[in-house]
């Protein structure tokens, strides 16, 4: 579904990602781990096409389209979706209004999904204005449910979510990447940044990647990587010479 080749990305004139190579096939869910500032969010933003994450070398091939220099909304329309870690507030724009636009006016689906995500009382509120951390995540998941992306990118979906809502968010995300389907029937793919690994309780991710200083340090079983990070921390990864 997505092939990242020799990708180099600059943020404010400084190279943040160096020589990234990654292939995500249809139906696969990948987990991205790494210390703060290692470039995980920059990679997701570069895949989405944000101006601040400027691709200087390499290419992004999505469903056989070269999207390296395609505008954000065309990537979204091709099926790439992003759950923002810290989305901006848009004053005056109601959450319900945005959902109406992205759903093509399917108010029945909006109401159903909003109720499911406990967000039905937020539809008439300015998007993200005064939302708590958990409310932001539920609003983001709700937006993705309406958007129905084929490549689901999630930037720390569990941060700020309280225990009560964690299973709600976790299960909704699992449905987004079709974990409720048999392996052979899965068409959706995922790329998920996680620090805590809580999301792995709801999603059996297929591959794990560790990023340090803007490049991949290792790839492997997500559970194994998480266990190692939990016991020894990322300093072990930084010290680790094998790339």
């Amino acid at each position: 579904m997505l092939i990242i080749e020799d990708l180099h990305v600059e943020v404010e004139g400084r190279e943040v990602l160096h020589d990234i190579n990654l292939t995500i096939n249809e139906g696969e869910t990948h987990v991205l781990m790494g210390p703060n500032g290692s470039g995980k969010t920059t990679l997701l933003r570069a895949i989405m096409g944000f101006g601040s994450s400027r691709i200087t070398e390499g290419s992004l091939i999505y469903k056989d389209h070269d999207i390296t220099h395609v505008p954000i909304h065309e990537r979204a329309r091709l099926g790439i979706g992003l759950l923002f870690q810290r989305p901006p507030t848009v004053s005056g724009l109601k959450l319900g209004k945005l959902l109406a636009v992205t759903s093509g006016g399917d108010s029945e689906r909006i109401d159903e999904y909003a109720r499911h995500m406990n967000m039905d009382t937020f539809l008439e509120r300015d998007i993200n204005k005064g939302f708590s951390g958990g409310e932001i995540k539920r609003s983001e998941v709700l937006q993705l449910m309406i958007q129905k992306p084929d490549l689901v990118m999630l930037d720390e979906p569990e941060s700020g979510v309280d225990l009560e809502n964690m299973s709600l968010v976790g299960n909704a995300i699992a449905a987004l990447v079709e974990k409720d389907q048999h392996i052979i029937n899965r068409k959706k793919s995922g790329l998920i940044i996680t620090h805590t690994g809580y999301i792995l309780d709801y999603i059996d991710a297929d591959f794990g990647h560790v990023m340090c200083d803007g490049t991949f340090k290792c790839h492997g079983n997500p559970r194994e990587i998480l266990k190692m990070v939990q016991s020894k921390g990322y300093k072990e990864c930084i010290a680790c010479q094998r790339v």
Binding site: P71, A76, P87, V101
Partner: protein, 370 residues
């Protein structure tokens, strides 16, 4: 067309469309509790079927009610400036609207001032809401497409009585060569509420206005909301002022301004001269294309225990907001228009839905030009 709508039929199709842009109805009075139409200096009709509400031409009113002298030129001084002097020197034109004690209009009352000639149109309006009365007004001001060079001089004196409420929504649809000089003062008594909404989304050569609310009664409330767009060639010098001169009086002056090349001077002044008063000025502006936005908020407190604040911001649309919406599949233009629409969304509590619909329609019409 009913007899009551006499006057609109004399206007051409194009002129009627211009008037409809200001939120007024030209075919029927359905959903309206009354109507007034003045074209240039000619008053076509002044009528209402609402109980306790009376609308009549100023000249007739001055003959009929001698007590009107207590209101005529009492809020706005005759000799304030050359505009008021011009109007004071001429035969009285305009309307008097009286809402008797305790009366209420379910539907808004519409008044239209239409400029068809290449000259100065002048008008003097007096609105009186007696104790406990509730009045909603849509004031549409427009000019004919044929008018090449004209001016509108206006005086409006509004009296909001004890426990009364007046909502005035004014939508301007002037032309690129028209100059407009409204002079307006509202006097608010005990617990009276005055809500003023002003929308100007189409070009005008020059608008100069600084409506003032004098909050004279305890617990009086005034709120001015303005939504202004300046296209190239437009010079809009607008603002609002509130004089808090009674305990518990509160005022809020809110402006959303956008320039696509024109000039906006956004003034605001709140004077707190007695204890226990509150006021806030908020002006937010976007510069979409090079133009001028000059915000001049003034807060003036003279006693302890008056709380006054202001915030003003001039800027551009944040890139991260545009990209956020683009990530949901909106094109850059769609994202920009959506954000601007949100920026202009100043929901006003207590505004009848029909009036909010008119405001939204005026914004929607202008949005196509962003």
């Amino acid at each position: 067309m009913p007899e009551s709508m006499k006057g609109y039929s004399d206007l051409g199709e194009e002129d009627r469309r211009r008037i409809e842009m200001t939120g007024l109805q030209t075919e029927s009075l359905e959903g309206r509790s009354g109507s007034f139409l003045q074209v240039d200096e000619h008053i076509h009709h002044a009528q209402t079927d609402s109980k306790g509400i009376e609308i009549l031409a100023l000249s007739d009113a001055l003959e009929k009610y001698t007590w009107l002298e207590d209101y005529y030129w009492k809020a706005v001084p005759r000799d304030k400036d050359e505009i008021t002097q011009y109007i004071a020197a001429r035969e009285p034109k305009g309307y008097v609207l009286i809402a008797r004690k305790g009366s209420q209009t379910t539907f808004p009352l519409q008044t239209c001032l239409f400029l068809a000639k290449d000259d100065i149109q002048y008008v003097h309006n007096i609105i009186i809401a007696e104790e406990g009365a509730e009045l909603h007004l849509i004031a549409g001001c427009a000019s004919s497409m044929k008018t090449k060079k004209g001016a509108h001089y206006g005086v409006t004196e509004i009296y909001v009585g004890k426990d009364a409420k007046v909502t005035s929504t004014m939508i301007h649809t002037w032309g690129e060569s028209i100059e407009v000089y409204p002079r307006s003062v509202t006097v608010i008594e005990e617990r009276g509420i005055f809500l003023s909404n002003y929308v100007c989304m189409v070009p005008a050569k020059k608008v100069q206005m600084y409506p003032t609310a004098e909050l004279r009664g305890e617990g009086a409330v005034a709120r001015f909301s303005s939504i202004i767009l300046a296209t190239p060639g437009s010079y809009l010098d607008t603002g609002s002022r509130a004089i808090l001169s009674a305990k518990g009086a509160t005022a809020e002056l809110i402006t959303r301004a956008i320039t696509t090349g024109g000039t906006i001077i956004s003034r605001g002044h709140i004077l707190g001269s007695v204890k226990d008063t509150k006021g806030h000025i908020e002006c937010r502006a976007l510069i979409l294309k090079d133009g001028t936005i000059h915000a001049i908020p003034e807060i003036e407190g003279r006693v302890v225990d008056c709380e006054l604040s202001h915030e003003a911001a001039v800027g551009k649309i944040a890139r991260d907001e545009i990209e956020y919406l683009m990530a949901r599949g909106l094109s850059e233009d769609e994202a920009t228009a959506t954000i601007i629409r949100g920026f202009l969304d100043v929901k006003i509590s207590g505004l009848p839905e029909s009036l909010q619909t008119q405001i939204d329609a005026a914004i929607d019409a202008a949005e196509k030009g962003f």
